[in-house]
């Protein structure tokens, strides 16, 4: 059975407000941000998934970073897809680079992959054309698209992990006996560098 999200009437608040349709007030969408500061003169970044295929980002550069970016010819924004490699490290692959219009402070990245990880940078371009990141976001994940057809009793599909701890990777290796000299260990194992043998 296909799911239909949001198949409910509007919540209470809206029900009551429907009765106030003629209530005084501006019915147009006017952002009242005239009453909130337009600029905080601070370096800020917010990076949030809106849904499986869309991420929203806002950013603000402090005045002096803005000036630095302006001297570089204006800001560029970049979106990276993020992958975890076999060493549990993150690798970053450039997905989009955009030169937004001046004074832009937010962006929607659309048509992304569900269940993927992304991060964002804003910065300028150096004289040699290389990108110089000023701000970088945390890595966030887009939610995956759920399965719709599912009845109890269906076990994991082939390749699906059967336990939350089963992740692809190497299995534990067998123990091996070893007769090692203490000095040899201390000399060859970086972890133990600096350790002094106990005094006799």
């Amino acid at each position: 059975m296909a799911l239909s999200f949001g198949c409910r009437p509007p919540p209470t608040v809206l029900l009551f407000l429907l009765c106030f349709a003629k209530w005084k007030g501006d019915m147009t969408m006017n952002e009242p941000s005239q009453s909130l500061p337009a600029f905080y003169d601070d370096n800020m970044i917010g990076f949030f998934p809106q849904g499986p295929c869309t991420i929203f980002v806002y950013w603000e550069l402090s005045r002096e970073l803005w000036e630095a970016v302006a001297q570089m010819g204006g800001a560029f924004i970049r979106l990276y897809s993020v992958w975890e490699n076999g060493n549990s490290e993150y690798e970053y692959h450039l997905t989009r680079e955009i030169k937004p219009p001046p004074y832009t402070g937010n962006w929607y990245f659309e048509e992304l992959s569900p269940g993927a990880m992304y991060c964002f940078e804003v910065g300028g371009k150096l004289a040699d054309g290389s990108f110089f990141p000023m701000l970088k976001s945390e890595t966030v994940g887009t939610p995956p698209v759920p399965r719709f057809h599912f009845m109890p009793g269906q076990g994991p599909a082939a390749g699906e992990p059967g336990s939350v701890w089963e992740v692809p990777g190497e299995k534990c290796l067998e123990e091996a006996g070893q007769n090692l000299d203490l000095d040899e260990v201390l000399a060859s194992m970086p972890f133990y560098m600096g350790y002094r043998k106990p005094a006799d």
Partner: protein, 930 residues
């Protein structure tokens, strides 16, 4: 029996109380909800209870709604509203005397209003006790939600998310005298990490939307017909879409049937304004009165008179239909399950009675008929008492909003909110921490600032803006609360509070009277739960000051000292140290037992290690291991595995292990037999640990990938730093000459000093006088010297060798920037030390280091090995000291906020409590494998 039906009603209104004397438009929402929803529902439930009908229902009451229910000013206003409506009822009875169809209805509504008034005054104007009474009889399970119903995934700071949760629970507790086990996530909006905050607050379960569970990994065997368990231990139930659709769907759902009362035909819009005006809150603004005389009839404008008897028959039929469909659904689901299936059907409470006038009657009928369908109604808490364990899964973000995620609350119409909201969140955490102990006025201002921020975070405003109805009202609520917050924050920081402004805000937005501003502070040490708990922990650490190698010994020392101050009795078992006794109790009250060095006379490493472990066991036995002296064992890294295993088994006590680094990670793979052996020991240590602790998400990923998560999973608790230890000493005057770049750490390839040396020539182009001070020792030093010579920078690289704490402090004080270009770094405690010392940092974007720094905010990050970009960043910082100051200021604040040892010890002790009081290993295995 076919299965269980879990009906959940979520009752919520935004805080709309006005301090003025007259009734405001917004308060009308509250009055109507009481009259048409809450009191009729309570009446029906009490009737069922009185007749002995066996039913169970869960009701969530939001804190803002509870605040209004207990408000004396609103109670009076509500009585005034009821009196006006009764007058209108009398007037209507007279006006409609010529029409029997209308007059019957007018009389019905009048009777309802009079009954409502009697009910309200019977309870002393206090509705919560009515809910409590049914709860005490076992009919209701009461839940609550976030303080102001904020959409938690869009609350940026962890502290403010926690504040929403804890203030909400505190508010519930202040009304009902206990904390609920269940929590209604606002908009069913879940994101990973929210469950951890709920667990910390003592919540046992919450509710998500359907796809929250269906998209979980691994696939839950019961789908939505059973709950699932997060790794944190909190259980999640999912909404059933089929039963939702039957009630919620505008066109095909029950409430849309032609026999039911038409919501939109109210006399307020049909009658002459002169007649109706005395009963309206705003004079000439027409709003619902509740006197509705027509039924839905069909899709056209023509409506027939409402027939209550017909509608009641319809409600009974729809209830029978609902029960029959649930019975079929449960029968179908049960064929694939080894336990009774459940269907969870959550609804907004205000649907019943307001939008759907016959809703409360339908609900009553469902409870009467459920047994006939082989269905037992139960609450989530009741279900968990029967089935406490469920499969452990990871769930993605989800909500029950349109689209299933965040679109409703984050779209081009309302996205402007979040920069301002998040700025305010960060500021609230800061002022709550820095000004939390000031005078009475400051405390009042802090409290009110907290209230204003919470009110700004309500999900209702973003929703209204998106729907485009009363945009100005909602936008003004957001901006108004945020402006009030900013004004209060300015006053607090300046030390001068405007008493009149503060009093005015307190009068207007007076909810959460017991709000403690500390709930917003960056860390909260769990107050006093460890003192008196009698918790004695055996800590096994192969190194301990004064015998230290890497950071592990210092970590154990700092952690133990802080744990001891919290009230945990810590007993350290460790290696010998010259001129130190075999047993001592240090200044912090930590008991230290050192293995006798005479037991370790061997040149074979493994024999030496074996002797160390045997010595630890012997000392623990002497201390009282066999007599149940210790509550648990905390092992640090693989070197103490043998002792950990033996003490755990002999003592019958649980094991917690901290994995500081792995052999695989240190060597970027397993190559030699010795590495394999260590790898194997690490795996066994993890598998026998009740809980594993890692210092970073990176380490948690690595340990999870290599070894799995052990019985209870992996908890990430960062390393800490003691900022008071980073005060520079007397010799800290800047030396003459150029700017100094500092590196501190072991001279081994993984620390990446070679990358920094390679960057130096480029840095020198813009800063010819620059000096690199390399503090540390290691086998790689010669290689680094050769590299410096090869790069032509040997004259500006100063290898100063090992530095003690004072030397470290002096170096950091005179450095213009500290650089940590590690190739592998599980955490990077020395970077924290530099941040605490106020030195701007540039680090590699690797491992745990990457998680400490927000690039451009409190430091700079460079891809590992990228000497070119490293050079540019360092040169840029040297050229722009103001940028460096901004970074270091934010970095210093971050260290104080997140990496204090008190906070880390509190989180660690929390692990101890969870482990010693939590599920047995058997139960944990069952939960993981289930």
């Amino acid at each position: 029996m076919n299965g269980y039906l879990l009906l959940v009603l979520h009752a919520h209104l935004p805080f709309v109380r006005s301090s003025g004397a007259g009734e405001s438009l917004e308060e009308r929402w509250f009055f109507e909800a009481c009259t048409e929803c809450y009191i009729p529902i309570l009446n029906r439930l009490e009737k069922l209870d009185g007749e002995g009908v066996d039913f169970r229902l869960a009701i969530s009451l939001s804190p803002t709604l509870l605040s209004m229910m207990v408000d004396e000013h609103l109670k009076e206003k509500y009585l005034g509203y009821l009196d006006r409506m009764i007058k209108l009822g009398l007037s209507e009875c007279e006006r409609t005397s010529g029409s029997s169809e209308l007059n019957i209805l007018a009389q019905k509504y009048l009777r309802h209003l009079e009954k409502t008034r009697r009910y309200f005054t019977k309870w002393g104007g206090n509705l919560p006790p009515a809910f409590k009474s049914l709860s005490e009889k076992g009919r209701l399970e009461l839940l609550t939600t976030a303080a102001t119903h904020s959409f938690l995934p869009l609350v940026h700071s962890k502290e403010c998310r926690r504040a929403q949760i804890e203030v909400g629970l505190d508010s519930f507790e202040s009304v009902f005298g206990y904390r609920p086990a269940g929590f209604w996530l606002p908009e069913c909006a879940y994101e990973q990490g929210v469950d951890v905050l709920l667990r910390d607050a003592g919540v046992k379960y919450f509710i998500v939307d359907t796809h929250g569970i269906l998209a979980a990994v691994p696939r839950p065997p019961h789908g939505i017909y059973g709950p699932v368990r997060c790794r944190s231990g909190v259980t999640a139930f999912a909404r059933d879409p089929e039963s939702s659709r039957q009630v919620w769907e505008r066109r095909e759902g029950y409430p849309g049937h032609p026999d039911y009362r038409e919501f939109y035909r109210d006399i307020a819009y049909d009658l002459n304004i002169d007649y109706i005006e005395p009963f309206l809150p705003g004079g000439d603004i027409r709003v619902d009165t509740g006197f509705k005389y027509y039924r839905i009839t069909g899709g056209g404008e023509e409506k027939d008179f409402y027939d209550p008897a017909l509608a009641e028959k319809r409600a009974a039929m729809d209830a029978r239909d609902f029960v029959a469909r649930r019975a079929l659904q449960l029968r179908q689901a049960s064929s694939g399950m080894d336990r009774m299936p459940l269907v969870l059907s959550p609804y907004d409470a205000e649907l019943f009675g307001h939008w759907w006038y016959e809703g409360p009657l339908w609900l009553e009928q469902v409870f009467r008929l459920a047994g006939n369908g082989g269905i037992k109604t139960i609450t989530p808490g009741g279900y968990l008492s029967l089935h406490p364990f469920s499969q452990v899964v990871e769930m993605p973000m989800s909500s029950w909003g349109e689209g299933g995620y965040g679109y409703v609350w984050l779209n081009p119409k309302n996205d402007w909110i979040y920069k301002h909201q998040h700025f305010a969140e960060a500021r609230m955490s800061y002022i709550a921490d820095r000004h939390g102990s000031e005078g009475k006025m400051a405390q009042r201002a802090l409290k009110q600032a907290g209230r204003e921020l919470l009110l700004a975070q309500s999900s209702d405003w973003a929703f209204i803006i998106k729907e485009g109805t009363t945009v100005e009202y909602a936008a003004n609520r957001v901006s108004g609360h945020l402006k009030s917050f900013m004004a209060l924050a300015d006053m607090i920081e300046s030390g001068s509070v405007d008493a009149d402004l503060l009093s005015g805000l307190e009068r207007e937005n007076n909810l959460f009277p017991d709000l403690s501003p500390g709930v917003f502070a960056p860390y909260r040490v769990s107050p006093g739960i460890f003192k008196g708990a009698g918790l004695k922990v055996a800590v096994l650490s192969w190194e301990y000051p004064p015998r230290t190698v890497g950071g592990l010994g210092r970590h154990v020392f700092d952690l133990s000292s802080s744990l001891s101050r919290l009230g945990v009795e810590v007993h350290i078992f460790t290696c010998p140290a010259q001129d130190r006794p075999h047993y001592e109790v240090d200044e912090a009250g930590v008991h230290i037992y050192r293995v006798d060095e005479r037991d370790l006379k061997t040149s074979n490493f493994l024999e030496w290690l074996g002797g160390l472990n045997e010595g630890m066991v012997r000392l623990a036995r002497e201390r009282g291991l066999g007599e149940g002296f210790f509550g648990l064992v905390h092992a640090h890294d693989w070197l103490v595995f043998s002792a950990a295993r033996e003490i755990t088994e002999k003592g019958g006590i649980p094991l917690v292990s901290t994995i500081h680094a792995t052999e695989y990670g240190r060597n970027r793979g397993i190559v030699t037999d010795f590495q394999r052996r260590i790898h194997g020991i690490e795996s066994r240590l993890v598998s026998m640990s009740r809980q594993v602790i890692c210092c970073s998400n990176y380490m948690a990923r690595e340990v999870g990938r290599l070894f799995g998560g052990g019985l209870g999973g992996i908890r990430v608790i960062p390393n800490g730093v003691n900022p008071t230890n980073l005060v520079p000493g007397g010799n800290s005057r800047p030396q003459s000459g150029g700017p100094v770049i500092a590196f501190l750490g072991r001279l081994v390839p993984e620390k990446g000093v070679q990358v920094l040396i390679e960057a130096l020539p480029l840095i020198r182009e813009s800063h010819p006088q620059v000096e690199l001070a390399v503090a540390g020792r290691g086998p790689y030093e010669e290689e680094l010297r050769r590299l410096a010579s090869k790069k032509g920078v040997e004259d500006c690289v100063n290898f100063i060798g090992f530095v003690d704490d004072e030397g470290r402090n002096n170096l950091l004080a005179r450095a213009a920037v500290a650089v940590f270009p590690s190739i592998y770094e599980p955490f990077g405690i020395v970077a924290l030390e530099a941040m605490a010392a106020g030195t701007p940092v540039v680090v590699s974007e690797t491992g745990g280091l990457s998680e400490i720094i927000c690039h451009g905010i409190d430091g700079l990050k460079v891809p590992p090995g990228n000497s070119g970009l490293l050079a540019r960043y360092v040169a840029d910082l040297l050229a722009h000291p103001d940028r460096a100051v901004r970074l270091s200021r934010n970095a210093h604040r971050k260290v104080l906020d997140r990496y204090s040892w008190d906070q880390i010890a509190s989180e660690t002790a929390r692990v101890y409590i969870d482990v010693t009081r939590g599920a047995s290993p058997e139960h944990l295995r069952k939960a993981v494998l289930y």
